[in-house]
Structures are given as C-alpha cells and as structure tokens.
C-alpha cells in the first residue's frame, strides 16, 4: 500500500523522500511557489508554498511528506498569508506591471491575480536599483528582483559560470554580477545560458525584441498560473 497524507482533507499518495509540494502537484493539487524549480534542490526562500502540516507552518517545497499528516493549504488562512507575502514582494521592489515587458508572462503578477491581491497594502519602499543595459543581448532590470536565486543557481550549477550572486544583507540584499566593474557586459554571460531564461519575473530580459506578443494574449492572460502549473505536471 502506498503511503498517503491528507491535503485539505483529500488523500495524497507519496513516495518516501517526496516533498509535500511534489506529491501534491503530482496528485493534481496546486501549491504556489516562486523560488522552487523542478530541476534544482528546494530553496525555501519565497515562502509562498507555506502550508500547515500537523499544526505547524512549513515550506511545502522543503518538507518531506509524512504518512498520516493533515496538511492545510487552500484555506482562507494560508491564502491570506500568501497574499501578504505577495504584497511584501511587490512593495519591496519597483514593480510597474503596465509598462513591463514581462507583464502577462510574469509569475509574480500571475500569483497576484491568483490570490486576489487588490492593493499593495503596505507602504512602498521605492528602492534605488539602476538597470544594467551594458550587455549586447540582455538587459538587467534589478527593480523587479524577488531574490529567488534561480539565476544564481542556474548560472553556477548548470551554466558553470556564476555570473550572478547575492550581496548585501537584509532589506539591502541585491543581485551582483561576476565582474569588478559590476557590469554584465564584462562577464561571460550569454543569451543562450539557462540563467538567461529562468527568471520568473522581469529582471533578465532579451534585448532587440519587445512586446512581440501583445498584452492580452500572453501566457497568464489566457490561462491561470494554477492550471498551467498543473498541466505541466501532467505532461
């Protein structure tokens, strides 16, 4: 008999070592995430996948499932916390969706819709984060960074270049590139790197092409992030 736990009252089967998030998605239940990626070990920084397991808050992406656990995820309480976390991510950066090339393809924006975020709620931080347009093929707009470190991990672990790293601490943490000048053009970054196409928001963007697909016809304009994620899981 396979092991199982209860997710919002529904039985979810799992194999040993599988996390709550992996098992849930495989069984067709959506748990949101921003920093999680199937090709990398769990990171656990965005906290959007937070669930209550046996009464305790845990990151579903980093917590191995346990037999007989009762896990709460799609509840007003957990979704309220997720909405709050999204609002935090929006106010700490500079996100202007209407003029962003990533609008409609952006996971942060899609989750804002998914969790019915109607206002920013908190005061905006308006941090100063200059863009880096030095590279011939790619643009860096740090204003939108959510610190998921997917580019850091992709460049270091797959591309073997460590083009990106985080520096600073706390609210002053920011992305740095691997060059004394601090300019992307002075690194060995290439538009063909995995790091060039892994950003879930609009920080790392290709140059020379803009608004090729009109707003209104983009990924999350036609389909919610929930159904797209679950469909990808099936295929």
């Amino acid at each position: 008999m396979t092991k199982q736990f209860l997710l919002d009252g529904q039985p979810v089967p799992f194999e040993d070592g599988q996390t709550i998030l992996e098992a849930a998605r495989k069984a067709g239940h959506y748990i949101p995430s921003l920093c999680w990626h199937q090709d990398f070990p769990p990171h656990g920084s965005c906290k959007l996948c937070i669930v209550k397991a046996a009464g305790r808050h845990v990151s579903a992406c980093a917590t191995p499932a346990k037999e007989g656990w009762e896990v709460e995820s799609n509840t007003p309480e957990m979704n309220g916390e997720r909405r709050g976390l999204l609002q935090m991510l929006f106010v700490e950066g500079n996100h202007f969706c209407p003029s962003c090339e990533k609008s409609g393809n952006c996971e942060l924006q899609a989750l804002g819709y998914e969790y019915e975020m109607l206002t920013p709620r908190f005061r905006h931080f308006f941090p100063e984060r200059p863009v880096d347009a030095s590279h011939p093929d790619m643009l860096l707009d740090f204003n939108r960074c959510i610190f998921c470190e997917l580019c850091v991990r992709a460049s270091r672990d797959v591309d073997g270049k460590s083009v990106f790293a985080l520096t600073g601490r706390g609210i002053h943490k920011h992305l740095a590139v691997n060059a004394e000048s601090g300019r992307l053009a002075d690194t060995d970054f290439s538009k063909d790197d995995l790091a060039a196409r892994i950003c879930p928001v609009g920080v790392i963007l290709p140059k020379g092409r803009g608004f090729a697909v009109p707003i209104g016809e983009r990924t999350f304009d036609t389909e919610t992030i929930r159904s797209k994620t679950l469909k990808e899981e099936e295929s």
């Binding site: 906290k47 520096t167 600073g168 706390g170």
Partner: protein, 603 residues
Amino acid sequence: MSALPATPTDALDGILQRHGHYPTELLQILIEAQDLEGWLPAPTLTHIAQALHIPRSRVEGVAGFYSFLYTQPVGRYRVLFSDNITDRMLGNAELMDALCRKLWIEPGKLSEDGLVSIATTSCTGLCDQGPGMLVNGRAIGQLTHRRINEIAEMIRQQRPLDLWPAEYFQISDNIRRKDSLLNLDMKPGAALSAVVEMGREGWLREVQTSNLRGRGGAGFATAVKWASARNASGEPKVIVCNADEGEPGTFKDRVLLNSYADLVFEGMTLAAWAVGASEGFLYLRGEYRYLLPQLEAVLARRREAGLLGRHILHEPCFDFDIRIHLGAGAYVCGEETALIESLEGKRGTPRIRPPFPVTKGYLGRPTVVNNVETLAKTCLIALGGGEAFAASGTAQSAGTKLLSISGDCAEPGIYEYPFGVPIARILEDCGASDTQAVQVGGAAGVCLAGYEFQRRIAYEDVPTAGAFMIFDGTRDLFDVARAFVHFFAHESCGFCTPCRVGTSLLQGFMDKLADGHGAKADLADIDWLDRLLKNASHCGLGSAAPNPVIDTLQKFRPAYERRLVSLDFEPAFDLDAALAEARQLTARDDPGAHLQTHEEEEK
C-alpha cells in the same frame, strides 16, 4: 593601524598563503585583507577571487554580507557606537552627537580627509560598562563626555590607537555572584584525565546522567546531541564552540573567554572525546576580536602541555585541535546552520533543516555546535560526576546559569545562580528598585512585567541564554520594543520574504507610531505582521523578531495607545518631513521653511 607594506599585493598574497588558499577561509582572508587599507577595494576582491579560484561574485557576496566588512571607504579611525537599548539608556545618542559635532562629520559618512567615520552598531556586549564603542575593532566602555572630548582630540591629532590611554581598553569582568562554575579552580587537563579514565562510553553516560542542556537558550540535551554526532557517519567529525554571542544584553561569554578560557577549550576537548571528533572551531564574534591574542596564547599553551594536538594525554586515538574563526558583525551567525555556512567561508544564511548539523554540518560532516557556557559546564561533570551536577537546579534544568545583568540596577555584571531562581531574588541581589519590566533572553526573549517577578529562571518557566535587562519606572517600554525591532531589521539576513520585508515593515510601523502618526489600523497591521513573522520565517531570527512587540503590546499597551492619533487611519507620509532635505540644502530651519500640519495647529 598597521603601516602600509611596500606593496599591498605582497601583503595580500602573504595572507592568502597563510590560509592555504582555501576557499573555506574566505571570511578570515577578507577580515585580514581589510586590515591592510581599512576597507576592501574592488581590485582586492578580484585578486582574492583569482587566488582562491572561486568566482568573484562569491567573494563580493560574502564581503557584502558582514557588517564589519566594507566595500566602500571608511575612516582611518572607524568609530562604532554600540546601540543596544542599555547603551541608549546611558545616553549613547548624545555622546555620538557630541563626537560628530567635534569632528565635523555626519553619522554614517566619511570625513572629507578620510580621517574618521562614525556610525552605530548592534550590541557589543559591554552592557555592564556602557555606553560602549568599537574603534577600529577595539572595545572601549564607560563612555562619558570627558572621554568623548579626549577621543575627539586624539583622533584629530591622529594618535595611533596603541598610544591611547590603556585604561580606555580595560574591560572588567564584573563578576558579582559565583556558584559552582565560576568557583571552579581547575588545573588544565584535570577534567580530560578524568574522562579518558572513564572511556568514551562512560563519559557519555555521565553527561547523560547530568541532564545537561544547552545554555544557548534552546535547552537541547547535550548528551543526545553528542551521541547523535558520534553515531552519524562521516569523518572527521567537528566540534564547534558558538561564541557568536550577539543577543543584545548578553556578555557572559565575554567573561568566560576572558577569564575561564581553559574551561571552554577543555570542554571542547571533552566533547571531542565523547564524539570522536578531531577538528574544533571556536566561532568568535567580531566584536570580541580584542580577545583573540590571549585566546591564541591559551591554545598554544594547551598544545605544549599535550592537551591539544596528536595523542592527547598519550591516548593513541585521541587527536583534536582547535582553530579560532572570527565573525564580522552578523547576529544571524549565532544560528547554528548560519554559523556553519560562515565557517565554510560563505554568507551566513541559515540552511534548510533537516538535515541537522549533527549528521551533516561543516563541509557535510557530523558537527556538534555547543554554547560557550555549555562546554565550560562539562568540566564540572567530568570532575564531580553527572549525579552531583543533576542534583542542583530544578528537575528539568540541572546546574547553574550565568546571567548577564544590565540596565537599571546598582550592580550590573555577571551573576551565577542555580536554575530555579526567582526574578524577584535576582532584582534584589543586583540592587534594582522601582522595576517596571525585565527583558529576559535578549531581544528574542521575553518581556516580564511586575506581576511575573515570582517566575523562575529555568527551561520549564523562563528560559534564557543569559541576558537580563532591567527597566525601571522611568522607562518607556515602547522605546525598548522599538529598539529591538530596529535591531532585527538590521540583522535579518534577507533570505526569506517574511523576515526580509516583514522586519522592515514592522520597523516602519513602530517609527510611524514614534513620530506621532499612529492609528488604530496600524496596531492591527502590527498584529498581523507579528503572526506572519512568527509562522512563516525560515529561522529563529524571523520568528523571534516580533516577540518584543507582542509582549509589550500585551503587557504595556498604554505605551502604544498614547501614541495614537485617534483616527482609524493616518497616512505614514509626513509632508513637513519630506522637506527636510530641501531645508538642509538651503541651510534653513525658520518657520517659513516648515509646513503647518494639523497637529501643530491644535497646539
């Protein structure tokens, strides 16, 4: 200040050489490299990255993480005022203001001639002799206006620190009450001989019998930790002494390391015997760097006496040595997995647990991380036996506890009590009167009001790592909570969303209340943030960050309410404050340069 060598690159290469070009030594290399020019210019980082064969981005990431590493120029005299609430209560703000005016500079900025920079830093562990400061990493306590005048003069004359009056740098132990640990006069090696006699199994059984629990505050059973590491696979195993004593208001480890270092190192060696470890680290917080030379001397003496190194006490299979690893101003590194990351030469970001360090710690090897006091206490068990140790204290909290007492009392300092001592007794002993509240366990701890003073120091009642800050009737508990909220916002590592953004938002709400713009709706938002931080944070820093607010809101609510404008909502934006920069640029502060706000009209 060290004189510049002929070529800085030669000196830098010497540092890299001394550390064997190991990337795990990156933080140590950066700390020493910074001594060359007082800060870390971009080419220095590039040079270090090339020499260690690691990406420059990693070096920049580490250099940017620690408060005491500077990638921008700082003064040749780098003055940091300790900014714990106890320093504030002793007037550190006026003293800093006075020094800034005398030297014609603004806090946080570098003087135009590059001579001096002045800023604040988190608690430096001098609360019993504050206000404190660090000048180029060296600690000075008992600051007064007279001392500040003299310091200003010596900086202006560019007098080298070594020629400053020696009494400036004298840090007293201030031990006020001794019990079993502080009364222990042990010949180095005596405890070790006893446990070698017992054998590894026998020694571990004694520790189990003693019911010794971690003195860092969490109270995990020491024997269980040691046994787990011993049974875990992976070699060589590691013993880490956590001397990253960053909790505001704590300074017991400072005293143990200053006057009882042999007990601490012997305790580490006792742990190594039980676990079968061969490598040891003392993680020393950067604020205590001034203790480094004397600690190295103790280690050298112990090596010479055959108490460290190969075949300790002539035991064929007992090899163990200790290295001291310096921190550089990061409270979060007191969290054991962040500490291990830092030991590996990385940013101090807490890891996902499990796996726990006892199975996968330093470089993936089984690692025991123990508090300074815990390790010192193991000497008592080795000499007197586990049963005798378990006989003192309470049922669930065996032995004694060192308390670091500061704030409003006649005799601040170190007090050792058997567990179970009531708060009221401590207050009486240290000469506190008209006590309004006590913050036990530091910023992350608990704020106790008068009606709770019969509670006891013990894991089962009021657990603590040792900080004990006293506030009398003249203090405003809102100010206390606000100081701690600022502390957590400054020290958040920034890894997870709730702590990175939440601590800053909380700081914003507390500042809004302090500025007289608070509304009832803000208290609701504070409440909501408190809960999210507690629930969703990645590590203990984030989940403890709201504690001071939760406690004071519950027990001292009027301190908040009298700051509220009686409205449901009040915007945080202050029109008049927004003109501050314009006023500064035009050197104006007359009434015409201010906007009338409704509050002023009411007056």
